[in-house]
């Protein structure tokens, strides 16, 4: 099923003899660049896009099952990429449920979304949930790229107070978990994310003057950390573990960039920070995700469009109320209408992203063809706080391994993690089980 990966940046650079401001979009047009010696194959990409507080399900779920289905109101913006879409109904994330832990559905919804495990109820003393699917993929598929994974978001972590019913805010603001106790912080500033991706500006400073010494510095601190770790108690050692594993990740990055080609700058204006306009913010993040996938800077990403339980107001679409307040609609029609509009707004932005991916050619297809983008929420209906029948989309064809353009209804209580197992297979990152998975998800093809 593999196709030749014709886009070699090394070849590009050799050909042009420069590493400066290469317009990535054009340069990546495959017809221009055919390197016979290139044995690489086009990679598969995986992203998870999270939107909070559930959906207004009656306007989300298509009526018909199979290839002949109409897009309901909330999904309408996706009409242009309908053939690249799987609407998956009936999936459940059981560990979003209390299981004796009482309230806290929002915290659990995000914490369990990619892990399929029960978040330990704590204000902070002993945070624990599980390794998330993206990090399982990052550990393997991430070896080939500058960044093993990319974590994006639009909301800062909580700044004060309690987030959800006795759960540390870590749970309701982080989707990606590198280990069962270490969340992956997300980048929310498009400028900083851009600079980091392309090693420019402040984030790229480390590449310049003392680049040749970075390794020596990291060796130095590794020794410090190992020495220190040996002398600490069990809990402190875990913190040093995080430190050590981060140093190693950075060393790996320095190795890849030292031996690989310089990173060409895309033909894209450097963002100037977090825009006031939320839609623009979301789109910038989608753009960066696109650039990262396109330039093969990473193959694994997560994007939390808003933190779980977000009470953001959407006055620009006529919804001045807080999203979370509204989601407890209690059957009130006016409130449901407003939720519908918020949901519609988010799919509109998502459609922008998919449209972008679908317009970038890669080999015989498009970037979207070579991607698997999961979009959804860990809560079904915001009023009921249910964690079954979740709103889930899968966009892209996973390098031709997914037959899309369908609405698939799964058996009730099918673990969402079953889907993830099957996606991991397609990232050459297979695992036997993940969280509460009970088997593969066989309805993708």
């Amino acid at each position: 099923m593999t196709k030749p990966w014709r886009i070699s940046r090394r070849t590009v650079l050799r050909g042009l003899g420069t590493a400066v401001a290469l317009p990535l979009l054009d340069a990546m047009a495959p017809s221009l660049l055919l390197a016979a010696d290139d044995k690489k194959t086009i990679p598969n990409r995986m992203a998870f896009v999270y939107v909070p507080n559930g959906k207004h399900m009656p306007d989300w779920t298509p009526k018909a099952v199979g290839a002949e289905f109409e897009l309901p109101y909330i999904l309408e913006p996706l009409a242009g990429v309908k053939n690249n879409l799987l609407v998956l109904s009936g999936l459940a994330q059981d560990h979003g449920r209390a299981h004796g832990d009482g309230p806290g559905d929002h915290a659990r919804a995000l914490a369990s979304f990619l892990t399929g495990q029960q978040a330990r109820k704590t204000h902070g003393a002993d945070i624990k949930v599980g390794v998330s699917v993206d990090q399982v993929a990052a550990a393997k598929a991430g070896q080939h790229t500058k960044f093993s994974s990319l974590e994006l978001g639009c909301d800062r972590g909580a700044q004060a107070g309690n987030c959800d019913s006795g759960y540390s805010c870590s749970y309701s603001t982080n989707i990606s978990w590198r280990t069962d106790t270490t969340p992956q912080a997300k980048e929310i500033d498009p400028k900083l994310a851009f600079e980091r991706l392309f090693s420019i500006g402040a984030a790229g400073a480390a590449r310049t003057m003392r680049e040749k010494f970075n390794k020596s510095v990291l060796d130095f601190v590794l020794e410090d950390a190992r020495d220190l770790q040996a002398k600490l108690g069990a809990k402190d050692q875990r913190k040093l573990d995080e430190y050590l594993s981060s140093v190693r990740e950075l060393e790996k990055r320095i190795d890849t960039t030292a031996h690989g080609p310089g990173q060409p700058l895309p033909n894209y204006p450097v963002p100037s920070g977090i825009p006031d306009d939320y839609a623009e913010h979301i789109r910038l993040m989608y753009d960066l995700l696109t650039l990262a996938f396109q330039g093969d800077l990473t193959r694994v990403a997560t994007f939390v469009v808003a933190n779980e339980g977000s009470n953001r107001a959407y006055p620009f679409i006529g919804v001045p109320d807080g999203h979370h307040d509204l989601s407890h609609h209690g059957g009130n029609e006016e409130k449901q209408k407003k939720i519908r509009e918020i949901n519609h707004f988010h799919t509109t932005q998502f459609a922008y992203f998919l449209d972008k991916l679908s317009k970038i050619s890669e080999a015989d297809g498009t970037l979207l063809d070579n991607s698997m983008i999961v979009y959804g929420s860990g809560i079904g209906d915001g009023n009921a706080h249910n964690h079954d029948n979740l709103p889930i989309l899968l966009a892209g064809r996973g390098r031709g391994t997914i037959v899309s353009g369908r609405h698939v209804k799964t058996e009730k209580e099918t673990p969402l993690n079953n889907l993830y197992l099957s996606l991991l297979d397609r990232m050459d990152s297979s695992v036997e089980s993940l969280g509460d998975s009970t088997g593969r998800f066989d309805a993708l093809a």
Partner: protein, 764 residues
């Protein structure tokens, strides 16, 4: 039961180890204890077996709670943590889960009364468990401030870091602060920028124009004989400290040394006696703080001497080899590099510099081998041809990335023995103190005490605390503690509906924050009673906020203190900041406000709503007419909701005279506001002023609540059951000292959890 199987083995093991310990300690029960245990076995245990046994006994208990051992031991006091948890779950009706058979209300109440009665008997006489703080990474604010105080560069490099996660309401909790790769990457990049700013390593000689004056000798040096000045033009990049250097020597004659003066424009920078001779010219340097732009840099020969009649040497001359300007240097540069390096003193100077930075950066004397390892990096850079400052910079970069800098390390001889309690050394204590009050590293005075071991002598701690609270750096306590305790930080993202609140704008948002910060700062710096937070008859306003409050005759943007009559305003509960962050975008939320008061003022947070029950205000079938209050009161008829909402809602109703952005009102959507209420227990109030009086009467609860929050913040860990007596001590110290702000801080700093630590692991 799929989640039961996932209980980690380690936890089960830990539980059984605990069991053994408890059994050993509780070997000799008193007669009273025996009686209680009999009672427990007869009346209490059967209840738990019946209602909880199904899930919480046996080999695969749910929620990591296995009751068997506790039931068998029948010792509520020894196992208080577990029983407190059980009591909470029963009170909140989270347990048994609703799908299981429920105990009769009377039965439940009887059991709870018995357990709570035992739990309340808490013996504070015994030795205190100081608890254990997990190694704390510097959070963003702490990183910024530490860099500022360590190197004298204040440019907030950590603002680019990902936000720190919050636990227990604060973002400085050791357990919660993690270290993902992206953060280390940011540290690496930040270290580079910091070093550049602190050492000016990227600076080049700014003298690029031609030098004029004197006569040119072979090799380009200029001799000043008859013409007594050389000069050049320089362009300086921005205001800052600049180093002017001149390499020169003298031809000595007469009875004076050659003297020269270094000028920038018409300003004398420094005079020099030039002792150097032709065989060995020397570098002379002068520093000046100046603005950027074009300047004239000149060297003037001050004491020309030529007496041809006298025997040689009879001609005194100054020879200038070259001129250099470097800069701008940060204010802290000379503190880091105290002297100019020469080829001879280079490595010695490097050692001195590294030694001093390491000790300050790691907040303790540097250890054997540590300095050598940094110096090895400095030497590496030297070998690679880097200049002195850049080489020092590489060492500094490593220091800034070291876990000893990024984490606040407190090393124990027995890190895994929970019984091994030790008193912190004075460096550790000074560090805890400075991060508590300044969110930054200790200053020289604290370090000096630590070095001499005098920090705990006499009333030194009290003196230091007073000094620190009056230092401008204590603004960190305002921003970071008050910002989180009162949730002022959420003001940044509050989004009041423009149509509903057309008056709201950014100037008002910023004024709201300022008011509360200045108010908190006043209580702190003037060492007032913390009860002022409830009803202090003064506040701080500028014109914008005064207009919002209807306070007349305040003009201009600057804030000033105003006295209040207490009718509408007074205390944080009437601050627009607090009232806004506890509102929904389109209206007030009495529930949120009531909850806020219970959580942050009274320290008795309501349990979260039982799962699957829609929030009171929004329940289906609501009658959509009547005032907000009327609508809400209809729902309070429901017994399961009433228990908690009877506590929350009246508090919120008492604040209904303040709208969603804290403006005063007497009507809401045509309905007259009724700000009266009755609290559980029958206490009633007629409006906000009255409500505050009710709260003030509960000053003990407030003091305890504030102490607990402050202790959490000061320790960087959650306050545990074992800290109960410490909190009581602090509250008592506050009561005995008229609730003075400093009495709370002193009591916290003096407490065992702040002064001591122990090994990891739970203990009975």
């Amino acid at each position: 039961m799929r989640h039961a199987a996932s209980i980690p083995l380690a936890i089960l093991l830990a539980t059984s180890a605990w069991t053994t310990l408890v059994a050993a300690r509780a070997a000799e029960p008193t007669a009273e204890q025996k009686l209680e245990r009999a009672e427990f076995r007869e009346r209490i245990a059967p209840f738990f077996v019946k209602h909880c046994g199904k899930c919480h006994t046996g080999d695969e208990p749910m929620g990591e709670l296995k009751l068997d051992g506790y039931l068998a031991r029948a010792d509520i006091v020894a196992d208080r943590e577990t029983w407190e948890k059980a009591s909470k779950k029963l009170h909140s009706r989270e347990m048994p889960p609703e799908e299981e058979p429920q105990p009769e209300a009377a039965e439940r109440d009887k059991v709870l009364k018995w357990i709570d009665g035992r739990l309340a008997r808490f013996d504070c006489g015994q030795e205190r468990d100081p608890g254990r703080v997990t190694i704390r990474r510097l959070n963003r604010n702490e990183y910024n401030n530490t860099i500022r105080d360590l190197l004298g560069v204040d440019f907030h490099p950590a603002d680019d870091f990902p936000s720190d996660d919050v636990g227990y309401g604060f973002d400085n909790i050791g357990d919660v602060l993690s270290m993902p790769p992206i953060l280390l990457e940011k540290y690496l990049a930040a270290a580079e920028r910091i070093v550049e700013r602190a050492l000016g390593t990227s600076q080049a000689n700014l003298v690029t124009e031609e030098i004029t004056g004197g006569q040119i000798l072979d090799g380009g040096a200029r001799i000043l004989t008859s013409q007594l000045e050389v000069r050049t033009k320089v362009r300086l990049f921005g205001e800052g400290d600049y180093m002017f250097r001149v390499r020169a020597y003298g031809e000595q004659a007469g009875d004076e040394l050659v003297r020269m003066a270094l000028y920038l424009d018409d300003k004398l920078v420094r005079n020099f006696d030039v002792k150097a001779v032709a065989s060995n010219p020397q570098v002379y340097e002068g520093w000046i703080r100046t603005k950027g732009g074009h300047h004239t840099y000149s060297i003037v020969f001050l004491n020309d001497y030529y007496e041809p009649e006298q025997p040689a040497p009879n001609d005194r001359n100054l020879i200038v080899n070259n001129l250099e300007v470097m800069g701008p240097y940060p204010p802290g540069f000379k503190q880091i590099v105290p002297r100019e390096h020469t080829p001879e003193n280079k490595m010695l100077l490097a050692r001195e510099i590294v030694n001093s930075i390491t000790a300050r950066a790691f907040r303790r004397p540097s250890r054997a081998g540590e300095v050598d390892r940094v110096l090895a990096l400095v030497e590496l850079a030297q070998r690679e041809g880097e200049n002195f400052n850049t080489s020092i910079g590489l060492g500094l970069q490593a220091i800034l990335l070291s876990p000893h800098f990024l984490f606040r390390v407190e090393m124990d001889p027995q890190p895994d023995n929970p019984q091994a309690v030790r008193t912190l050394n004075e460096f550790e204590l000074a560090t805890r103190l400075s991060y508590f009050l300044w969110s930054s590293m200790p200053d020289e005075e604290l370090f000096a005490h630590a070095r001499q071991g005098t920090l705990r002598n006499g009333d030194n701690l009290e003196q230091q605390i007073k000094r620190m609270l009056n230092d401008p750096k204590a603004q960190a306590l305002v921003e970071n503690f008050a910002g989180q305790w009162l949730q002022l930080r959420n003001l940044k993202t509050a989004a009041p509906d423009k149509r509903r609140y057309p008056d709201f704008d950014e100037a008002l948002r910023s004024a709201m924050l300022q008011e509360t910060e200045q108010f908190f700062a006043a209580v702190m710096r003037e060492d007032k009673s913390v009860l002022d937070f409830l009803d202090g008859p003064y506040t701080f306003v500028n014109e914008r906020l005064a207009r919002h409050y209807g306070i007349p005759d305040i003009k201009g943007d600057e804030f000033r203190r105003v006295a209040l009559d207490g009718q509408q305003r007074g205390g944080v509960l009437s601050h627009a900041s607090v009232l806004t962050v506890t509102s929904n975008p389109t209206r007030t939320s009495p529930v949120k406000r009531g909850k806020w008061v219970l959580e942050n003022i009274l320290g008795t947070p309501p349990p979260p709503p039982p799962p699957e029950v829609p929030p009171l205000e929004e329940e289906a079938g609501a009658v959509a007419s009547g005032s907000l209050r009327e609508r809400m009161e209809q729902h309070r008829a429901k017994a399961e909701c009433a228990i908690c909402h009877n506590r929350m809602d009246p508090l919120g109703f008492g604040l209904e005279n303040y709208d969603g952005i804290g403006g005063w009102r007497t009507e809401d959507e045509k309905f007259a506001i009724d700000p009266s209420g009755v609290l559980p227990g029958g206490q009633s109030f007629s409006g906000p002023r009255d409500l505050k009086a009710v709260l003030k009467a509960r000053q003990d609860e407030f003091a305890r609540c504030l102490a607990e929050k402050m202790l959490t913040y000061g320790l960087g860990r959650g306050v545990e059951y074992s800290d109960k007596c410490t909190v009581e001590d602090i509250a008592k110290a506050m009561r005995d000292n008229d609730y003075k702000f400093s009495s709370m801080i002193v009591a916290i700093v003096r407490s065992d959890p702040f002064q001591k630590r122990r090994g990891t692991g739970s203990r009975p």
